[in-house]
Amino acid sequence: MGMQNRDQYEIVVGLEIHAQLATESKIYAADANLYGNEPNTNVSVITLAHPGTMPKLNKKVMEYAIKMGLACQSNITRLNIFCRKNYFYPDSPKGFQLTQDKTPICVGGKIDINTPTRGEIGIRLNRIHIEEDAGKSIHQANEKDTLIDLNRAGVPLIEIVTEPDIRSSEEAAAVVTEVRKIVRFLGICDGNMEEGSLRCDANVSIMPRGSDRFGNKVELKNMNSIRNVKNAIDHEVDRQIQLVESGEKIISETRTYNPNTGESQGMRTKEELNDYRYFPEPDLSPVEVKEEWLEQIRKDMPVLPAELKVKYMEEYQLPEYDASFLSETRAISDFFNELCQLTTNYKAASNWMMGPVKSWLNEQGADMATFPLTATRMAELISLINDGKVNFTIASQQLFKAMIAEPETSAEKLAKKLKLTVQKDSGFLEEVVDEILKSNPDKVKAYHNGKKNLIGMFMGELMKETKGKADPKTAKETILKKLEQHK
């Protein structure tokens, strides 16, 4: 179908994002919360739902969920009642999921995104609630029976539910990207969509442009990357438009998207859905979030990316591009913040982060958390350049790498040891400049005839001759002085 049809419809999307919380143990049991272990090794009697067991709430889970709520400016629910969502499935050992229903831990709030069509907007959150993950059903080829791995059963999750405020697949992708950034920044989830630590379902509907009545919504499941979120929504919107245009009805149903074929398939219609028979969990006392606890969590909150970006732009006078990069991850911003405590040359610090540091990380396929140099070493490097003791090219191409190989040695010591410090001896420079001017008489003439920018060429030659070790300021002065003598 043509894109012109698309313009006649408004797309309405709401997201449900599940984030597995990176706590050490599960939400209701002391079992390890670890991905990738041998099947059924992190399973105690509580996880296995043996008779007589009761849930024992891991308070860290509440703390992590509250952090997310504070980051999204949600209201924090003070009295948390847990609920049972009843359904039968082999990977749900209790026969119900222990979740929150009427008292989600976070209510309201928003995720801010930047959109090409609508500018800076806040996508409103309906709620964030706490729940437990299910185990995994494994259907193996050549195996008649389904195998169950309950390592994941009871892994803590938060479910972030947006209002249907999203108007395009790009916006949906931006919301997931922003959520991933925040959870990583808070250190509450690793945000790994491939391993399923972050999962996204989307409720998609269309309506004629200008209408205020939403169409029947279809729930898309199984989107394991941000790109798939976008592609799946695009595909679903096309499918719905096609149905409407051909006079057919859109059925409220759940569909799964297959990223390999780019197609989706209906799982079940909403009419056939379970009646989950929610009721308050009588085996777990309601948990009160007291003011002092909330205050403590507030105190422990890191400064968030959006706020950092503003700080970098206003306080450090950095360009927006720099500020965005430096606030992208917690590890980078933590390092940069520390660095800015040690130097006031913020732009230089930013250049180092965005240039040599980033390149090195890319080359190594490493992340900032494993970067071998301390902020102190980086500050030493910046101050060597600032003081004119090493020039930037030498520093970035040679000294930086030498420091990484020997991170325990100070920048200055290493520079001296490797003889990378700048030559400030003007006597030596004068000889070199004389040589350069003598071998370029026509350039000298052109200079005196007005081509003043040839000074750059002479500087380049000088640096080449001195292998970059000349102090630029002294070098320039020397060249100017000698040019006058070679008139």
Partner: protein, 472 residues
């Protein structure tokens, strides 16, 4: 051979070196063997009990024995005891063995109690006559044609017939007090949340209470005070300190006692039970207590409220018995759905299935507010009224049951008739207050009457003291 009817007698014999723990265990094992036909025990841990008795005898010799050295305890088949079978008298938990020990059982073991075996009960503690067990009914030792009551019928008979010193039971709507009354023994349902439920197979979590059967108040009080109190594995348990109940068993002064007019007007109340209760009131007055008849119009709502809420909770609590991870799985399954349906249909008995269906119904979206939500509200009202009443009156008394023990098979065709057996016990369960049943004479057939006494939240100490005085 020496006979033992109380822990005090056992301790006396141990102290005077007239008997060892092993002798005590052997006495009970002989009793159990002699009265096998009562069907009280599902399993007897005979060798294990003897081995443990020998160890505890050594501890006594070394002066290192715990407070319950010599006490022999039977467990209703709803308590987890590591390495031992746990079946809730149901086929669905066929061959299930518990991998951990319930907090309350562990606390008894830590004080050197000896666990002698697993006691019969109604399947999943659902029933009032012990006729719902997958292992057949328990017989009342007073008259073997009569039921022992339920669901903790095995526990009541084990104490009644001297098969152990004390027995643990669970009480959700009367499952300790009603069989205690039918068998003429003492049975307490403490305040909800007084004893950790960790390791108690859940039936209706917001009602389930762990309590004790005994022949003396002192034994009962001692066992409860050891089991009660804070536990990290049960977030709902009270952290309130536990008084030394067994040390304060003398009731001083005169009490202000209430009884409900509605109780005496109840349709199902048997004439002899009514007369026994009226006599009791007279006796209390004669002893100088102030006894007052009060109105409690909400009483008629207690039973429906109870049945709505407990079926709702149990339908969910019993979802885990699905044949996937443990217990019975039907051999006739074709796919996932038939595995669920057949395993559960073949594994659960009729009454359990009835309650699961009822509970699923009252929680379903279309009926939730009409049943579940409304019942929760009524529960709150009843709780508040009971609490108010027990603030102005020290105790509330009533017959434990509307009739004495009925004949086996007399109510099995009509579940509603059976549910009426809980008429007087559900009130304390709905409210959560402590309640005890003590023997109170016998009817013309020689069957025991039970007197139920309730006190306010966490007033077990007072309840024991008053009951002890009543029994003297």
């Amino acid at each position: 051979m020496k006979r033992f009817r109380s822990f005090a007698q056992i301790q006396k014999s141990l102290n005077e070196k007239n008997a060892s723990c092993l002798d005590v265990v052997n006495y009970y094992l002989a009793q159990i063997n002699q009265r096998k036909h009562l069907n009280a025990f599902l399993e007897v841990f005979d060798q294990e009990a003897k081995d443990r008795a020998v160890q505890i005898d050594q501890k006594i010799q070394a002066g290192k024995a715990g407070r319950l050295a010599g006490m022999v305890v039977g467990l209703k088949d709803v308590f987890c005891y590591q390495g031992h079978k746990l079946q809730a008298a149901s086929k669905i938990l066929e061959d299930f063995e518990s991998q951990f020990t319930a907090t309350c059982v562990q606390r008894l073991l830590d004080e050197d109690a000896i666990i002698i075996g697993r006691l019969n009960c109604d399947e999943f503690a659902m029933g009032s006559s012990n006729e719902n067990s997958a292992f057949g009914p328990v017989l009342n030792a007073e008259n073997e044609n009569r039921v022992p009551g339920g669901s903790s019928g095995g526990s009541a008979v084990a104490v009644q017939a001297n098969l152990c010193t004390v027995a643990l039971g669970s009480d959700t709507g009367g499952s300790i007090r009603q069989p205690a009354a039918f068998c003429g023994v003492i049975g307490i349902k403490p305040t909800y949340s007084r004893v950790s439920r960790y390791g108690l197979l859940a039936y209706a979590s917001s009602f389930d209470t762990i309590g004790v059967f005994s022949n003396t108040i002192e034994d009962n009080a001692l066992a409860l005070e050891i089991m009660a109190g804070k536990d990290d594995f049960d977030s709902t348990v009270s952290s309130r300190p536990v008084p030394e109940y067994h040390k304060k068993l003398g009731f001083e002064g005169k009490a202000k006692i209430a009884y409900l007019k509605e109780t005496l007007e109840s349709e199902g109340l048997n004439d002899e039970v009514r007369q026994n209760f009226i006599d009791t009131i007279d006796r209390l007055k004669e002893e100088g207590h102030e006894v007052e008849a009060v109105d409690f119009p909400l009483l008629k709502y207690a039973l429906p409220t109870y049945y709505i809420l407990i079926t709702a909770e149990s339908s969910s609590n019993l979802s885990r018995y699905d044949g996937v991870r443990y217990g019975y799985r039907s051999p006739n399954t074709l796919n996932m759905e038939s595995m669920y349906k057949k395993s559960r249909s073949e594994g659960f008995g009729e009454e359990v299935q009835r309650r699961i269906m009822l509970g699923t119904f009252v929680l379903s979206a279309s009926y939730y507010d009409a049943f579940y939500t409304k019942a929760q509200k009524v529960r709150r009202l009843i709780k508040n009224k009971v609490q108010d009443l027990l603030e102005t009156h020290g105790f509330l008394v009533m017959p434990t049951t509307p009739t004495t023990a009925f004949e086996l098979g007399s109510h099995t065709q009509n579940p509603l008739e059976m549910y009426l057996a809980d008429l007087f016990t559900v009130q304390a369960s709905v409210a959560g207050v402590p309640s005890i049943s003590i023997p109170n004479g016998k009817d013309s057939d020689g069957m025991p009457f039970g007197l139920q006494i309730m006190a306010n939240f966490f007033e077990e100490e007072k309840l024991y003291a008053f009951s002890n005085t009543m029994l003297k």
